[in-house]
């Protein structure tokens, strides 16, 4: 019988990276993936109704939901659109927007000075500088295209080591970019092209992006968009030391006397539970799910911290239209790419808020800046847009008016990713009523955004809307974060890492304080939420942890 040095639960961002690093170091690993292997051609034909609206690649809320308890105590089954049930997990469906967390995320308490009432604000037990080599490793193995900050602008985007370059230049800019750069420059702000796990030229045997216009929530049939499957997991499988079991669901982590022993699993929802042993078990199935696994497995929790301090990101969005700007097109010699959201700008000038009128606001967040018309295919664009006199759900004349604007006028959409306060009451627990197809209790999330989250979302959106209206924009939609959050792809913090076993679930190497050999490599480890897309930092952490096992 084959024996394994390590078992990895989940084949996505964390699991694939673990498989890569551990096999590189000569360890024999077994990777469990609940879903099937999907080939790129299974994502064709690109079709918004099927992949975007009917969502066949994510769990169905009738059979495999998340239960959400809203701030009024009401219970609701929620669709988990952020889970990809296949080899590679959600990295098969993401937009691969991969910025680094920075010093402001690693040391939130330094930025805020004091925690707002009712929150738990801590500094991470690592520094940005300590993570820097792991960020670089992640960027080169996953294949990032982007532009490092030009001299003098290091404070306006994620700083890098002097002379460092991403492996590929940034994506072709969106046609709105020159106008937006001009408008923000008038306010002293400097958006920049986002670092993306999307090839801009042939890299690691995968082609460059053809700008097809179908990205987030679609599988990439071209294979230019990085996933665990086509980067790190592919390398692990090539080593001959990695066994991948698809359609296998881990049902429990086996442990005894403070040591991990292996996992129990099923190869069929109706089948019998089997077991496999190993001295190391790495769980990386997104924060909510890894917390559920801890609770189902009875991982000792003497301080009642498992599932606590759970965070979603603070969101918010705004849409504007410009009478003075013709609709964005691809320009002379197809200089721009008008048909996809990929050439989006990022804007970090409100990452830290220093406004004398609002001294209580300190840590803010980041914007992704898109064109509302082309951020996603048309059904989504038209369904969610707002009008001049109606904020959403347009129909009739108001819908026609908006369609004319979308066709004729340039527009912009802002998507805010903000810092989020950690509170003890925001938590992941096991539901006592609903079971998933494998017979396991589903996760239940109790979540309410802190007033601080809602304040920064509103403040930052109003700031960018003001800058845009100063340049001729008219607001068509303005949706700051409310208290409720039904669920989001950025989920973290529910298995906090830290040096003090009395205040954290994982140690500083993301190993359980109570079960030796059990590691967590998804974003559950994050002591605070941070204010950017979390996955690159999660991947960098997996490189860091797996190099020191």
């Amino acid at each position: 019988m084959t024996t394994y040095d390590a078992i990895i639960v989940g084949s996505g961002a964390g699991g694939g990276t673990a498989a890569r690093v551990l096999t590189k170091r000569g360890m024999r690993v077994l990777v469990f993936e609940k879903g099937p292997m999907r080939r790129p051609d299974e994502f064709l034909p690109y079709d918004e109704l099927h992949f975007g609206e009917h969502m066949p690649l994510t769990p169905n809320k009738n059979t495999d939901p998340l239960i959400y308890i809203d701030p009024t105590g009401k219970r609701k089954a929620v669709e988990r659109w952020w889970i990809g049930n296949m080899v590679g997990g959600a990295t098969m469906l993401w937009e691969a927007n991969l910025p680094r967390y920075t010093a402001e995320d690693f040391a939130l308490l330094d930025v805020m000075k004091e925690a707002p009432a009712g929150t738990s604000v801590v500094n991470w037990p690592w520094t940005y500088d300590q993570f820097q080599p792991w960020f670089e490793m992640a960027e080169w193995e996953w294949g990032i295209s982007g532009q490092t900050p030009p001299p003098g602008t290091e404070h306006m985007q994620e700083p890098v080591r002097s002379g460092y370059q991403f492996p590929m230049p940034p994506l072709r800019p969106h046609a709105s970019t020159p106008f937006l750069l001009w408008a923000f420059a008038r306010a002293g702000m400097k958006p920049f092209p986002s670092p993306r796990g999307i090839n801009t030229r042939t890299y690691n045997g995968r082609p460059a992006c053809p700008y097809c216009g179908y990205c987030q929530s679609f599988g990439c049939a071209v294979n230019d968009r990085a996933s665990s499957t086509n980067t790190v997991l592919a390398l692990a499988l090539q080593s001959g030391l990695c066994t991948l079991k698809t359609g296998h669901c881990v049902t429990r982590i086996l442990h005894s006397k403070g040591r991990v022993e292996g996992v129990a699993f099923k190869s069929d929802p109706a089948g019998a539970e089997q077991t496999v042993k190993a001295k190391h078990v790495f769980v990386s199935i997104q924060a909510i799910e890894s917390t559920r696994m801890f609770l189902i497995s009875g991982i000792p929790d003497p301080n009642k911290l498992v599932g606590r301090y759970f965070t979603y990101h603070t969101k918010g969005s705004a849409e504007l239209t410009f009478k003075s700007q013709p609709v964005w097109d691809d320009g002379p010699q197809r200089l721009f790419q008008p048909r996809t959201s990929l050439g989006s700008l990022q804007m970090r000038d409100l990452y830290v808020i220093r406004d004398k009128k609002r001294p209580e606001l300190t840590k803010g967040g980041k914007f992704s800046i898109y064109d509302p018309f082309t951020i996603s295919p048309l059904i989504k664009c038209v369904s969610r847009t707002g009008g001049a006199t109606k904020p959403k759900d347009l129909w009739g004349k108001q819908l026609v008016d908006r369609l004319v604007e979308l066709r004729n006028q340039g527009g912009v959409m802002f998507s805010f990713t903000g810092e989020t306060m950690s509170t003890y009451d925001n938590r992941v627990e096991l539901d006592d009523q609903v079971k998933d197809p494998w017979g396991l209790p589903v996760a239940r999330v109790v979540y309410k955004h802190h007033d601080y989250d809602m304040q920064i979302s509103k403040y930052c959106l109003e700031r960018v809307c003001q800058i845009m209206t100063d340049s001729g924009g008219e607001v068509r939609k303005l949706e700051p974060q409310g208290a409720a959050n039904e669920g989001y792809g950025h989920n973290h913090g529910s298995l906090r890492a830290g040096a003090d076993p009395g205040k954290s679930v994982l140690d500083t190497n993301c190993q359980s304080h109570t079960v030796h050999g059990l590691y967590v490599l998804d974003s559950a480890f994050m002591p605070t939420a941070g204010a950017s897309n979390p996955t690159l930092t999660q991947i960098a952490n997996a490189y860091r942890v797996c190099h020191s096992i």
Partner: protein
């Protein structure tokens, strides 16, 4: 000879026959004509010429394996269309398909607000509005392979994946 037929997934196979009767399609057209009305002066095609009602009819004829809500929608349309017709006859003394634009707007606005008095209590008005609006937009803007957006008329009118076309004025 056709290659690979055995591998064509269910969602790519067009149903042989739609689910709705011609009378029901006319009712859906009457509603959709106000959710996304044509405005040829401004070069915006409407839901009726896009064939959004054929989209609904074909979608409802598909299997639950294509999308789990399809059976619920069959029930909803079969209950809601007669209920809306009853409402039209009781309040406007006319069939649903014979309502004026203003009358139909007031019906749709009433569903949106959940405020149609005397409407069938068995039907959630707001859910019905959301479903009708969603299907109308999908039938207009989805790929033509689903039976709506005929000849890509909406994509051509709006300028999606291609520059917007002049659909209704003679090229001078």
């Amino acid at each position: 000879m056709t290659l690979f037929t055995a591998d064509v997934p269910a969602w790519l196979q067009r149903p042989a026959k739609g689910y709705l009767t011609p009378a029901e399609i006319a009712q859906v057209d009457a509603i959709f004509s106000r959710i996304l009305p044509a405005d040829h002066a401004r070069q915006i095609p409407g839901a009726v010429e896009a064939g959004a009602s054929s989209f609904v009819s074909e979608l409802l004829a598909m299997d639950a394996a294509v999308y789990w809500e399809i059976p619920n929608w069959r029930t909803l349309y079969r209950a809601a269309l007669p209920a809306l017709d009853d409402y039209a006859r009781a309040n406007f003394q006319a069939a649903l398909v014979a309502l004026t634009d203003d009358q139909m707007n007031s019906v749709i606005g009433g569903l949106e607000a959940g405020s149609l008095a005397g409407f069938s209590a068995a039907i959630d008005q707001k859910l019905l509005f959301t479903t009708l609006r969603r299907h109308c937009i999908q039938g207009c803007f989805a790929d033509p392979r689903w039976g709506g957006n005929k000849n890509k008329v909406m994509w051509r009118g709006i300028g999606y994946l291609q520059p917007a076309e002049d659909l209704y004025h003679d090229n001078l």
